[in-house]
């Protein structure tokens, strides 16, 4: 794809790419607390601050809970706010994630996906962000460092869109992406700054009857984060759902606009369909696993197997219609989960994809593979095995074990 601007090719880890994207996005306030494997992001950003390369207030908070509180309050003061975390840090933010989305503060956060304790584990899985899927945050998951960079830039546009005004988290797989050097093509500073633009604020009606920008402003006093009881709370929540619906469109628009600028595109922004047009068997996954899966699909295609892959680039909002239409021709589907939903009969992605397929014209077989927890390596051979299982299901027309654990000692 053609690009409107010159790229610079860098060797960057996913974390560095994220920090660099935040640096270029004219962020006003960063409040963050270090946690493995997110640390490189805050370290890099601290360097930018120390060397005067950014016009940003860096608040080196004493916890992730305060990181989110500070980002939220900076955001409603009119600033563009960014933070990054992982695992336990995201879990500690849990309360504030809901407050941030409820206050409609368009904070952007990188979540370097990592397992949750106990036992303590610093490696990748999606337990942390999956546990926050109902927090009112938009969730994007990056396949590689390049996409992590691109998604952070896009996230500001999505979050701050006046039809959305929701916080966005961009997930990147811990270590697999965060600490691995890749070729990352960065855009020029001015191109990013122009793409992201200045923070826009919606106009709202104050209790004094004035229409003013939505921020804490002494000239136009506004009460934010009030108590709303049985008579109003429900309406606030319904509006957030409407914003999520709007985000389905905005994410696609931003993906298209970014493609014009950079020449890079991530499916339609919501889902990234790979060889699905005529696929009979397909896997559905998130994040870096898609890279390996695509090479396996290529191999299978060379062997004449009609295999495909659907990567959910956006998990919240869930693009039910896109998932359904992308998987229309597929007869057997393996949904891959890098987290558990204990006692929930399969993982979260499995639940949601099956839910999306409930109204599909033809009911495909849908099975679940839970894999890679706590950073457990998943080999290409094991991943290929998933497609072989799907072929067997198609041949026998029956599913022996709908929920399987890949690479587990049992």
């Amino acid at each position: 794809m053609a690009s409107l601007v010159k790229h610079e090719k860098n060797a960057m880890s996913g974390d560095e790419a994220v920090a660099y994207a935040a640096k270029q996005s004219d962020v006003d306030v960063v409040a963050a607390y270090p946690i493995t494997p997110q640390t490189i992001i805050v370290e890099k950003f601290s360097e930018y601050v120390a060397n005067g390369e950014v016009e940003t207030e860096f608040v080196c908070v004493e916890s992730e809970h305060s990181a989110m509180a500070a980002c939220l309050s900076a955001s409603v003061t009119g600033a563009r706010a960014f933070t990054a975390t992982a695992s336990a840090g995201l879990a500690l933010m849990h309360e504030m994630l809901f407050v941030t989305s409820g206050c409609r503060a368009p904070v952007v956060m990188a979540v370097v996906n990592r397992a949750l304790s106990a036992p303590l584990n610093i490696h990748c899985d999606h337990s942390d962000s999956m546990a926050q899927r109902d927090s009112g945050w938009i969730q994007l998951y990056a396949e590689n460092a390049q996409e992590a960079y691109d998604s952070i830039i896009q996230a500001f546009r999505i979050a701050e869109d006046l039809d959305v005004l929701l916080p966005v988290m961009v997930g990147l797989d811990g270590f697999t992406l965060s600490h691995t050097l890749e070729n990352v093509e960065t855009l020029p500073d001015d191109a990013v700054k122009k793409f992201v633009g200045t923070r826009r604020l919606p106009n709202v009606l104050t209790h004094e009857g004035k229409t003013v920008p939505f921020k804490l402003d002494p000239d136009n006093p506004m009460t934010m984060g009030p108590i709303a009881l049985q008579n109003y709370y429900f309406e606030f929540k319904r509006q957030q759902e409407e914003a999520m619906k709007n985000a389905l469109t905005v994410i696609q628009q931003v993906n298209d606009e970014f493609a014009e600028l950079s020449g890079r595109k991530y499916g339609n922004g919501l889902v990234d369909a790979y060889c699905l047009d005529d696929a009979e068997i397909a896997a559905v996954c998130l994040g870096s696993t898609a890279g390996t899966m695509k090479t396996i699909v290529d191999e299978l295609r060379q062997e004449g197997v009609k295999a495909g892959l659907l990567r959910l680039r956006t998990f919240r909002p869930l693009s039910v219609e896109e998932i359904r239409s992308a998987l229309e021709s597929v007869k057997a589907i393996a949904v891959m989960d890098k987290s558990m939903s204990f006692g929930g009969y399969g993982g979260a992605v499995f639940h949601e994809v099956r839910h999306a397929l409930y109204e599909a014209n033809a009911q495909p077989f849908v099975v679940n593979y839970i894999y890679g927890l706590g950073g457990r390596d998943t080999s290409p051979r094991e991943l290929r095995g998933i497609y072989e299982d799907l072929q067997r299901i198609l041949q026998t027309k029956r599913v022996e074990n709908p929920i399987q654990y890949l690479g587990l000692r049992e």
């Binding site: 306030v29 908070v61 916890s63 305060s66 500070a70 939220l72 009119g78 504030m96 108590i227």
Partner: protein, 322 residues
């Protein structure tokens, strides 16, 4: 720090428009509501207030109504100081980028004893350590009153609350009130003070000093709660006076680590015969009523002893001896 003397006269205060407005849902005789209305009289220009979850947050912001004539933000119970950090950081950078027109905006964080002594202390300690320019006002009604009178780190020894009831075996709260203002002094912050609404001019002066100071300031305000203290709503201000006169809640300030008694307490230090017995303050409050029964005598003596010890310690910190 500015050293000008403030002359808050009753006329000045009456003429200044309220920033904490009437119509809120606080109980009759609510100490914190009186405190908030008064401290907002001491603001000096553009001001943003952020408040922890608690009584005053709940009574003042029931959507779609508000009692706040200044921009106001509530996010959670433990976040008053973290919010102030974010607001202050945002104002600083937006000012630098020419996106805020005000020369200066004061940031006030409000929290009750729960949001300060207990769940909020981490964020408070962090924000003070980072040196954000804000005033943290603790309105201390000495228990979790919003949720129905549960004990906090600020509940005094012996007080009965719903989680430290005066039982047949355990006579109310066994632990002592955490010396929160001293903890804040230990942060080596520029300004820490205690205040009581009875001594309103002293309180307003301290609010103004806290705002004028560059960097973090902490104000610990005594705020009686008739519902939680089981006391007469008409006597909240009287208790605010008695707490100082008995040295249960002495008034002092620490400027850059230099501790000095404020006038009402200084007068007691200079004329010790004026110091009243703690029973003068404790009697009439239902939360201490079990201490006035025969089996409560020991507890009463202990409260007097600890109050005296704390007073002596404060005197020596202020370079005074008794």
């Amino acid at each position: 720090m500015a050293t000008e003397e403030w002359k808050f006269t009753t006329k000045d205060i009456a003429e200044k428009p309220d920033l904490f407005l009437s119509g809120h849902r606080a109980c009759a005789g609510c100490g914190p509501a009186t405190v908030l209305r008064m401290i907002m009289k001491a603001t000096r220009g553009p001001t943003i207030v952020t408040e922890a979850t608690g009584c005053m947050e709940v009574v003042s912001s029931i959507y779609p109504y508000t009692s706040w004539a200044v921009p106001w933000l509530h996010t959670a119970f433990e976040t008053a100081a973290a919010n102030a950090s974010g607001i202050e950081a945002a104002l600083k950078i937006l000012k630098k980028k020419g996106k805020v027109k005000y020369e200066h905006v004061d940031v006030i964080a409000l929290a009750g004893d729960g949001g300060t002594y207990d769940i909020g202390i981490q964020a408070l300690s962090g924000a003070v350590e980072r040196g954000h320019d804000f005033l943290f006002v603790l309105y201390d009604n000495e228990a979790y009153m919003n949720t129905g009178i549960q004990r906090s780190g600020g509940t005094p020894h012996g007080a009965a609350t719903t989680t430290s009831p005066a039982g047949t075996v355990i006579p109310g709260k066994l632990e002592y009130k955490k010396p929160i203002a001293e903890i804040m002094v230990a942060h080596e912050m520029p300004y820490v003070a205690t205040a009581s609404p009875y001594y309103w001019r002293d309180m307003l002066t301290k609010v103004r000093k806290g705002l004028e100071v560059e960097g973090p300031a902490f104000l610990h305000v005594f705020a009686p709660c008739p519902r939680g203290w089981r006391s007469d709503p008409a006597k909240s201000i009287e208790y605010s006076k008695l707490a100082v006169e008995t040295c249960v809640f002495p008034l002092w300030e620490s400027i850059n680590g230099q501790c000095q008694l404020s006038t009402p307490s200084k007068l007691i230090a200079l004329a010790p015969q004026k110091k009243k017995l703690v029973t003068e303050y404790l009697k009439g409050q239902g939360r201490f009523s079990h201490m006035f029964k025969p089996q409560g005598r020991k507890l009463l003596e202990e409260v007097q002893r600890v109050t005296d010890e704390r007073w002596q310690r404060l005197l020596s910190k202020c370079g005074m001896k008794q």
